[in-house]
Subunit: 100 residues, 2 copies
């Protein structure tokens, strides 16, 4: 009996890689509080427009985020609530004092 069976290791490691980046992780954390449009994420992260857009695209393609157009703006949100569990587990490691 193994934590994650061999057949799922490849997918799981790809999923990890998809969030294993400073900017992408920051985006994910911001989106924990609900959907945000790109302009808001730009403001919140301080990234360049092009760079943020590319990272959003990557997370979208990896199935981590979903987006929805509203007029001229595009809103992003976390696609699968299970990813929030992952963030929480991370938080437990890197800022345990916040996790009482």
């Amino acid at each position: 009996m193994q934590a994650i069976p061999q057949e799922n290791i490849k997918d799981a490691s790809q999923g990890l890689r998809a969030i294993a980046h400073e900017l992408r992780l920051a985006v994910l954390c911001h989106l924990m509080n609900g959907p945000m449009c790109v302009a808001e994420l730009l403001e919140a992260t301080g990234a360049s427009q092009s760079n943020l857009s590319q990272h959003l695209a990557k997370m979208r393609m990896m199935g981590i985020l979903k987006n929805e157009r509203r007029g001229t703006q595009v809103y992003y949100r976390i696609a699968d609530p299970a990813f929030e569990g992952l963030i929480m587990a991370l938080k437990n490691i890197y800022c345990p004092e916040m996790c009482t």
Copy 2:
């Protein structure tokens, strides 16, 4: 109130990168069942000796694994049980049917 505060994002993303690799994740999963020596991990993963050794070194330096020499063999184990929580959260995403 944010999932992981900005000041911890860098560390957390580095920690993620440290396990965001097929072989390293496989090693971590094997070690969920208890310590193993390098030869056993070689057998279990099918990696080359040099390659495995380098990945073990990386995880050791990132504080994810600890090692202990016993005679001519070296045993590895998960350094911080909180990492097991991370694996479980991953499992919840990539093989939810196993998580009832």
